[in-house]
């Protein structure tokens, strides 16, 4: 045994120090090289077909759905959910699940307080259920994941793995009633079926829905062909040009979830805008209103508008998920999480005719760094951007809060032992009420995430009080229904539970996370 009282030599001390330093530096170098910087939650699924040149196809604008019936009590629409084929990639015919044969589905235009009834008929091979994201909707029409519309002659079980006594299952069709007593906003409707929301949206079950009101009309914002709905969504294609998706059960009727590498989210390598890959849109040199929706399952974007000369045009945000802001907020770069909507003004006034402006994604690499391009082809009308917008934003104060809740969104094991995603340690169970809130109560929710989790509340809009213990970010302004939590981040949100009693949801809007447990029940009593 060595004599422990011998002085430690300087050389030995330096050696030990160098050893610790070497290991530490090695670890840091490994992390620098290996970790995704910036962080990205999800795995890219690579297409197996040659991808088209960017900006070679025109931007499609989804058709506006005409009502079947219009009465003093509101409008009635009919939509058929059916398989359809479309040429998404030039030269390939891709089978889709659609609302009325188009992807994105037809756009519904509505006015505040004028009720809309949408009768959906399910001609798809699987059960479906429609949720109007951002809608202030009675629980019976909110598209609870087990309120399924079964296909004609459906003999399978309900398709999901859990029993739910309260489920309202119908055969072949269902009417959804939307009172739409809410601020003017861009909403979107999409499938919300238990366990299979992600592949259903991926296959095409998503469309846009606008609510208009007098507050918005008074501002005289760009309209008509100067207001562009933009649903940005990534997809991947197999060797035949069909949509590729790593579902455990490709028929989407049995086992839910995705193959192991994609458990954190499925990212495509093709960026679609309104269903077209990296499209181009001809504009004049006026101001355009972009109604931007990230309809991707898991991909986050950081948008920047860059001219052909390399200059950044400001993205002037005038609205959030739940309608107009009080005042515009200017962004050089705008991060947008799945399911978030941003109402933006983009001024092409300084863009030379024949020149263009690319909408790029600063979080993307390679092809996913591009989104679309605007090409200035005509002179347009300049107009000032209003400096005050809406004055009807709710203002809730912490001191009013009847409840403060901490909710953790993180990975874990589901009941069957598989890897999944949990809210406060538990995977979704329709039979368990996770949060009970009283109608009319103001509550503060403190949400904590391990990786990226865009957290969405049904029924209500909320305001973001703080992020990461500090002030909210500039793009957190206004009334939201989805808050994007980044890795290790937290946010405090405040809302008043108004509108209707009943069973609602809150969940992560990374659609794969949602299917794999990260959803919880919100009972309004």
């Amino acid at each position: 045994m060595p004599d422990v009282n011998l002085p430690v030599t300087r050389r030995r001390m330096l050696g030990i120090g160098a050893g610790i330093g070497f290991v530490a530096a090695g670890g840091l170098a490994l992390s620098t090289g290996w970790a995704r910087r910036p962080a990205e939650t999800g795995e890219v699924l690579r297409s197996e077909v040659p991808l088209p040149q960017a900006f070679s196809v025109p931007l499609p604008i989804p058709p506006v759905l005409a009502p079947i019936q219009s009465t003093p009590d509101g409008e009635r629409y009919e939509l058929i959910q059916r398989e359809a084929e479309a040429e998404i990639l030039p030269g390939f015919t891709t089978r889709l699940w659609t609302y009325d044969g188009v992807f994105p589905g037809p756009t519904i235009e509505s006015r505040r307080g004028r009720p809309v009834t949408v009768a959906h008929r399910n001609e798809l091979p699987v059960p479906t259920v429609v949720h109007l994201h951002g809608g202030r909707t009675p629980a019976a029409s909110d598209g609870y994941p087990t309120d399924l519309v079964l296909p004609e002659g459906w003999t399978g079980h309900d398709g999901h793995h859990m029993a739910d006594d309260r489920a309202q299952v119908t055969n072949a069709s269902r009417e959804y009633g939307f009172p739409l007593d809410q601020r003017a906003a861009m909403l979107w409707y999409h499938d919300h079926r238990m366990d299979f929301t992600a592949p259903a949206i991926w296959k095409g079950l998503a469309g846009m829905h606008f609510v208009r009101d007098d507050v918005e009309d008074a501002l005289d914002l760009p309209g008509g062909d100067h207001e562009l709905p933009l649903m940005v969504a990534d997809r991947a294609f197999d060797a035949e040009g069909q949509l590729a998706y790593p579902a455990l059960d490709p028929t989407l009727t049995g086992e839910h979830g995705v193959e192991e590498p994609y458990v954190a989210g499925v990212l495509g390598d093709v960026v679609l805008v309104n269903g077209a890959p990296w499209p181009e849109h001809e504009v004049d040199t006026g101001i355009y209103r972009l109604r931007l929706l990230n309809g991707s399952n898991a991909r986050h974007y950081e948008f920047e508008a860059v001219t052909d000369e390399g200059r950044t045009l400001p993205l002037v945000q005038i609205g959030a998920d739940q309608g107009l802001l009080a005042a515009p907020v200017e962004h050089q770069r705008l991060p947008v999480a799945p399911a978030e909507r941003y109402d933006l003004l983009l001024d092409f006034g300084e863009v030379p005719l024949g020149s263009g402006v690319r909408l790029v994604n600063r979080l993307g690499t390679g092809r996913t760094a591009e989104v679309m391009r605007f090409k200035a082809v005509r002179p347009g009308q300049r107009a000032p951007i209003p400096q005050t917008l809406a004055d009807d934003l709710p203002s809730w104060d912490r001191s009013e809060a009847a409840q403060v809740r901490d909710l953790a969104f993180r990975s874990g094991r589901m009941d069957d032992g598989r890897h999944g995603w949990l809210v406060d340690g538990l995977p979704f169970d329709p039979a368990r009420t996770d949060v009970t809130a009283r109608l009319g109560d103001v509550e503060v929710w403190r949400l904590v995430a391990d990786v990226h989790h865009p957290v969405h509340l049904h029924l209500v809009g909320f305001r973001i009080l703080s992020r990461g213990g500090g002030d909210p970010l500039p793009h957190d302004a206004g009334l939201k229904d989805t808050v994007s939590l980044r890795p290790g981040e937290s946010a405090e949100i405040i809302t008043r539970f108004e509108g209707y009693r009943g069973r609602y949801l809150f969940h992560c809007h990374n659609a794969e996370h949602e299917d794999m447990g990260m959803m919880a029940n919100l009972e309004i009593v």
């Binding site: 004599d3 422990v4 009282n5 002085p7 430690v8 030599t9 300087r10 001390m13 030990i16 120090g17 610790i20 530490a24 670890g27 840091l28 490994l30 992390s31 620098t32 290996w34 970790a35 995704r36 910087r37 962080a39 901490d406 909710l407 953790a408 993180r410 406060d424 340690g425 403190r446 904590v448 391990d450 990461g468 213990g469 980044r486 890795p487 290790g488 981040e489 937290s490 405090e492």
Partner: protein
């Protein structure tokens, strides 16, 4: 010699006592160790869903920063009075690392924050061990105990 005599100073009369600056340094490296080891605890509490864990993690980060700065000042005194430079350089390195760690945490750069945090705690532990391993006596001339 047995292990006890190597660790207990009173049993080793030839070794002079630790200087006051050395005792202050030992106090600070001990506080540094406690604060450093508490940081991953707060982080774990936070990521487990307790929002207050984040506030504690920030308080801990501030504390580690202040201790680090104080340690640099005291280590400078040790350099002068004990004629040992390593506490100064080690404290400086830890504080620079802790500053980077603070910024990485604020930026949400977890790829840096996690491994750097582990390295810093290892460094804090190493400095703690070194400060308590040998006496830090006052020396008026250059005397090298390990020469």
């Amino acid at each position: 010699m047995n292990r006890r005599s190597a660790l207990a100073e009173p049993d080793a009369p030839p070794q002079p006592g630790t200087d006051a600056s050395g005792w202050v340094l030992r106090g600070l490296v001990t506080a540094h160790l406690v604060a450093g080891f508490a940081q991953p605890v707060f982080a774990g509490v936070y990521l487990s869903g307790d929002f207050d864990g984040l506030a504690w993690h920030v308080i801990g980060a501030d504390l580690v920063s202040y201790i680090g700065l104080a340690q640099i000042a005291v280590a400078a005194a040790v350099w002068i009075r004990v004629r040992r430079a390593w506490p100064f350089w080690a404290s400086l390195a830890l504080t620079l690392g802790a500053t980077a760690q603070y910024l990485a945490g604020m930026e949400g750069a977890l790829w840096l924050h996690f491994p750097l945090g582990v390295s810093l705690v290892a460094g804090i532990a190493a400095v703690f061990a070194a400060a308590w391993a040998r006496p830090l006596p006052r020396r008026r001339k250059e005397v090298r105990a390990d020469a």
